[in-house]
């Protein structure tokens, strides 16, 4: 390859990134403006209240952590269906650590528990070459069993039982941004500027302030860490030497090996980080969301995390956006039935607009389908006045299937994702 060719490729990549950034900004603007309009038209304040945004964030954190976990494993070429099981281990060990030694130990042990699950997956798939799906499924079964067994031993008779732990009282630090959102600043009660703006119910201005305020009030330190992990993951995987080597194990392990990258080590690292993040997600559920370990607490969030990773096109920012979307749907469902119903209007208008855009670009099938579905959703909004909560439950899964079905050619997963790598045995 000549240097000129490299430059062109680089320029194209930069241009592509700039285009993507512009598209993201456009989408964000669309969401804020239209949501505010729908809020104003339907009078469902919870659609854009800071409480909803705050709850979305809390609900999105475990999904985001699981999604990032999936990202690390799959970027090194190992599919991790076992995220759910690793998260279960995280909840149990997080609760046990929290009860025995305090919340910080809960976090540490939760991460360790998830990593143990990751280690099993790594040994089975990387060292022994077991099919990755098979190993992941086995870990999910195993983790549920181990958690149940350990609960019987450790919690029964100590204020818990076979299916739940004693109460875990969390005292992890919490954070509210001063001045903007009314946090304390060295003991001084600062004003709550965004809160004041939100109360005014001015179109757009109040809605936007509510969004920012929701992301600034009463944040768990774990939430802050998780949010920092998004740019952190990007910088680590795309801007460091080690990150490049890890990704090369997922893109073309044989080429990487020939250049001296220790592919097994990279894959181990990816799967262990994956387990650690899933474990942290579990610890978050116990320490911050519920204050207790319960059997079945993860409720398929490992799988939703996997969905968020695919939805987000195996990129940290995409995973974050998807997790946010799923968290928002959950939060609305928990807080207000009216708001969920109002959301239908938003979806209907958005789909119709997308369809019109498609038609304008002469993509007739997509355009017609989009307008049609948009119209149906609009009709649904008009003739009913509530959405069954089971529908909200399935939203992330349906959305993922639709995205995969419609846009699978625009998604790009790591080239050698899921293909077992054996040193010196190339399969073409």
């Amino acid at each position: 390859m000549s240097w000129g060719g490299g430059d062109t490729a680089l320029a194209q990549a930069t241009q592509g990134r700039r285009l993507e950034a512009r598209r993201m900004l456009f989408l964000l603007g669309w969401v804020i403006i239209l949501l505010s309009a729908v809020r104003w038209a339907t009078g469902a304040p919870d659609l854009t209240s800071s409480g909803t945004y705050g709850a979305s964030l809390r609900l999105a954190v475990p999904i985001l952590l699981a999604g990032l976990g999936g990202l690390y494993a799959e970027r090194t070429g190992v599919v991790n269906i076992g995220l759910e099981g690793m998260m279960i281990l995280g909840t149990w060990f997080g609760a046990w650590g929290g009860v025995q030694f305090g919340p910080w130990w809960g976090v540490v042990l939760g991460i360790t528990g998830g990593m143990l699950g990751g280690l099993v997956h790594a040994v089975a798939t990387i060292t022994f070459g077991v099919n990755q799906i098979v190993s992941g499924v086995a870990i999910n079964i195993l983790a549920a069993g181990v958690a149940r067994f350990l609960s019987v031993i450790a919690f029964t008779g100590h204020g818990g039982g076979a299916t739940q732990s004693p109460q875990v009282t969390s005292s992890l630090p919490r954070l509210t941004v001063p001045v903007l959102a009314g946090g304390k600043f060295f003991g001084w009660q600062s004003p709550d500027v965004l809160g004041w703006l939100e109360q005014k119910h001015w179109y757009l201005l109040s809605d936007t302030s509510a969004m920012f305020r929701g992301f600034m009030v009463d944040l768990s330190i774990l939430t802050v860490i998780t949010l920092l992990l998004v740019p952190g993951t990007y910088l680590f995987l795309w801007r460091t030497r080690l990150g490049l080597r890890m990704r090369s194990a997922g893109e073309n392990p044989w080429a990487a090996e020939s250049l001296g990258v220790r592919v097994y080590t990279m894959k181990y690292l990816g799967v262990l980080i994956s387990g650690a993040l899933a474990g942290l997600a579990g610890a978050f559920l116990v320490l911050e969301a519920a204050g207790i370990y319960r059997e079945g607490q993860t409720g398929g969030r490992g799988f939703i995390g996997l969905a968020a990773m695919i939805f987000g096109n195996w990129r940290p920012s995409g995973v974050a956006a998807a997790a946010g979307l799923f968290g928002y749907a959950d939060a609305l469902n928990l807080r207000s039935a009216d708001a969920v119903h109002a959301l239908l209007l938003f979806v209907g208008i958005s789909l119709t607009a997308l369809g019109i855009w498609y038609l304008y670009r002469r993509r007739f099938t997509g355009g017609v389908v989009s307008v049609l579905i948009g119209g149906l959703v609009f009709l649904w909004f008009a003739v009913t006045d509530a959405v069954p909560d089971q529908f909200i439950f399935i939203t992330p899964y349906v959305a993922t299937l639709v995205v995969l079905a419609v846009a699978s050619q625009r998604l790009r997963m790591p080239t050698y994702d899921g293909i077992p790598f054996r040193k010196g045995e190339q399969i073409s």
């Binding site: 599919v79 269906i81 099993v120 089975a124 022994f128 070459g129 077991v130 099919n131 799906i133 098979v134 190993s135 499924v137 086995a138 999910n140 079964i141 195993l142 549920a144 069993g145 181990v146 149940r148 067994f149 019987v152 031993i153 029964t156 076979a162 398929g300 799988f303 939703i304 996997l306 969905a307 695919i310 069954p388 089971q390 529908f391 439950f393 399935i394 899964y397 349906v398 993922t400 299937l401 995969l404 079905a405 699978s408 050619q409």
Partner: protein, 368 residues
Amino acid sequence: MSKRFRIRLLWLLVPVSAVVLAFGVSSLVLIAIGENPISAFRSMFRYGSQQNSLVSTVNRAVPLYVAGLAVAIGFKMNLFNIGVEGQYRLAALLSAAAGAAVVLPAPLHVAFIMLVAMAVGAGWAGIAGVLKVKRGVHEVVSTIMLNSIATGVTAYLLANYLRKPRVGSELLLATHPIPASGQLPPLAVIGGEELRSFVLIAVALGVLVYVLIWRTRFGYDLRASGINPDAARASGADPNRMILTTMLISGAIAGLIGMGDLFGFFHAYTLDFPVGLGFDGIAVALVGLNHPVGIAIAAMVFSWVDRAAQILDLEGVPKEVIIITKGVIILSVVIAYEVVRRLVQAQEVKNAAEETRRLEEREEAVAA
């Protein structure tokens, strides 16, 4: 001993040693928590060998077995139907509701319910099949999503459309009961426990699956696609058609998982239908080497361990220890199979090389 026989023995050794290893690990766990493993296992064997325990073992093994078959048929061509759980639950709900809604003579009624269940299971699995063939969506991802969607859809349908009106203070959510013509009488009553007749249908299903996979052109294409997709395509197997057909068959079998419980016990779909059978089916298929006989043995072992462990609570031993036992069986079996597979493959390559050399030497001798 012929080479072939030796290889068979090697394959057989894997599950046996995995079971031994699993009981060893469980013993260590029991010792670690201060229990006596020998007395625990002895009481398990005593309780597990009672007549009613054995009958119950068979009854509980049947859904595991059917689930294992559903998974195995996909595994045979490297198609991972993780969605068996969702296919089973949706099929059980809709077939129970359909069965309660029609009036038919006895054998037809049962057949009708089974047909509905198979159609629903196949339809739900078919979504994943179509997505894979038409849009290139990996079946593992789509079936995981479809599992969760099935959970929501069954809950919605049951709560809003298919439930029987509540009588008195009864809290259970259930469909309308299926009349006697749509039920199966027990095959026998042994030791106070009913042996369900669905076991006969399950056995027949196993034979059918065996014939389909090992004795038909379709089965040959299926196995060939699993071993070497390119070679299978070259020999005339259309990969898309294979994927779709296999997914439909797998889903249809998955639809039958709940039938034993439906015909022989609940006579309606309720929230008490066992959860997780689809995933247990994956475990059973793995341990049973995707062969109907192996799956039957694995299902019996898992089911027996479950039943026999019930006695442990009375002995003051946490019965959950058997979950560890099962987990170790699954994990050690998949690892050991992979190792054996590679050993056998290396041996076969060596054999082939030897054979070629011998042929070449002979040709040279002839030429000289």
